[in-house]
Amino acid sequence: MSLIQARGLRKSFRTGFLGRRVEAVRGVDLDVREGEIFGFIGPNGAGKTTTIKLLTGLILPTAGEAWIQGVPVSDPRSRQHLGFLPEGTFFHEYLTGAEFLDFHARLLGIPRDVRRQRIPELLQRVGIPHAADMRLRSYSKGMRQRAGLAQALIGDPDVLILDEPMSGLDPLGRKDVRDLILSLRDEGKTIFFSSHILADAEVICDQVAIIVRGRVVHQGYLDALLGQELSGVELVVEGIDENLFEQVQALAQRALVQGSRFQFEFDDEAEAEKALDWIRSEGGRIRSLVPRRRSLEDLFVEEAKKETHA
């Protein structure tokens, strides 16, 4: 069952003095199934945030429709079981962390006794239990992002829409958010998040959609999108002389000297085999031989380039 659906979503804005019409989203279709982590990836200005604002009812579509849990997004009831983290952490700075969560919980009509229990639990879960009584204006960027996540979770939502949840976080913070998203999926929640950090998306997503210049150019499960076939081989060797290095380098797409080690990357498996034979016959030592699969980054770069040249 799709918990987030969009059909033919379009949004154009008028910009500039002459009111020139710019199409930010051009016919987006989405299907996010229950219990999935769905990555919505694309370069800056691709239309990710605009699509998210359409899904959360913050802007009105020029054409097309979207539903959350089967309810049209134009109806505020579609947001009854939705948690949302906007990009850029815009919160009421005069509130303390606990007041901020209490305010959002009350907007959802959560009873006082549940709020009292849930607020400290959530602050603990996002890693800022010490900041409950600090005003948000004194929070660091990472703490704000965590407070924003707690806000998105305050209603114990079935569906989460997170706009760039890892932005502004240090590596430890990114790992915490990744782990949090995975644990939410384990609880049965459906998570739709946008990101331009492809490594994060590749690690945690079940399904991804790549949006470029307002159009979804790829959507599907990662295995299906990236395929199982090899995209190349990475070889690390030791104990070869300069002549052999130059010979192998001519076959490889990339060669790197790391002290006594030599690293080669081959796009063609047959050429890697040939290089291996040479190295073995000359007495070189093979330290690692790693097949390389097509990555999300490879796919993303290909699509971005295609669209740019289109």
Binding site: I59, S78, R79, F84, F90, H92, Y94, L107, G155
Partner: protein, 259 residues
């Protein structure tokens, strides 16, 4: 309380909380206190007019600082929700846009009620301290000052719903000034030489909020008799006009894209 009423109450309470944590509010309140207290000194300089000076200065301070708070604190509170994008997390909940507008308005009006109440209490304290009478007309005048602020806040909210805060502040101040000059504008249009612009002056007179109708400071300070019915009918006028502006603000918010 229904879910909708609860959301309006929560938004109003948060608006109120934001305002009372606002430094500008305290600065304006400090100045209004100083102005009300200055009537004691001013009265000493004008022997024989003590009573009138307490009344005039007290009512003027309440009206002037009330309008400043309504325009600048009020516009700022709505603008900030939009400019700082705090509205995103609120409207991405099951909150109707009209609930947001009404909640903000209710929060601002309750702030004004507190502010007018405190200034009026200080005013009464000064009058009591100087052993002077506090006639009921003064309370009527203060009540209508409050209604004027209720109306001005609705004007500010209306303009904030579709323009920048600077323009909204300018438009609101402009309308406040014109609103007090409507009788003069109508009289000007009624001059024999002004027949060409009479439709315009008539349209302004009947279309814009007539704030002079809400100004009973002069008669109250002069000790003139003011009927309660007059006060109530003028308060009703302010309420209806505010409701109309609020409906307009809701209609504009309903179509607005939060980019």
């Amino acid at each position: 309380m229904t879910a909708g009423a609860n959301r309006i109450f929560v938004i109003a309470q948060n608006t109120y909380r934001e305002a009372v944590r606002e430094k500008l509010l305290y600065n304006l309140f400090a100045f209004s206190t100083l102005m009300i207290l200055s009537s004691i000194v001013l009265a000493k300089m004008h022997l024989g007019y003590d009573e009138r000076i307490y009344y005039d200065v007290g009512l003027a301070a309440i009206a002037f600082f009330g309008v400043l708070i309504a325009i600048f604190v009020g516009i700022n509170l709505v603008y900030r929700e939009l400019a700082q994008k705090t509205v995103y997390t609120m409207l991405a909940k099951p909150v109707h846009r009209w609930e947001f507008v009404v909640g903000k308005y209710a929060g601002l009006v309750s702030l004004l009620a507190l502010e007018i109440g405190m200034m009026a209490a200080l005013f009464m304290l000064v009058v009591w301290y100087k052993d002077t009478q506090f006639p009921i007309q003064l309370l009527y005048a203060i009540g209508l000052i409050f209604m004027e602020l209720v109306l001005i806040t609705a004007v500010a909210l209306f303009f904030s719903s579709f323009t920048t805060p600077y323009l909204a502040a300018m438009f609101t101040v402009g309308l406040w000034i014109i609103g007090h000059l409507l009788a003069d504008i109508r009289d000007f249009g009624n001059l024999p030489d002004a027949e060409g612009i009479r439709p315009i002056t008539q349209a302004l007179y009947w279309g814009l909020p007539n704030l002079d109708r809400l100004d009973l400071k002069g008669p109250a300070a002069a000790g003139q008799v003011i009927e309660l019915g007059t006060v109530l009918s003028r308060a009703l006028y302010a309420l209806l006009y505010s409701a109309m502006l609020l409906i307009g603000a809701v209609a504009l918010f309903q179509r607005r894209d939060f980019r």
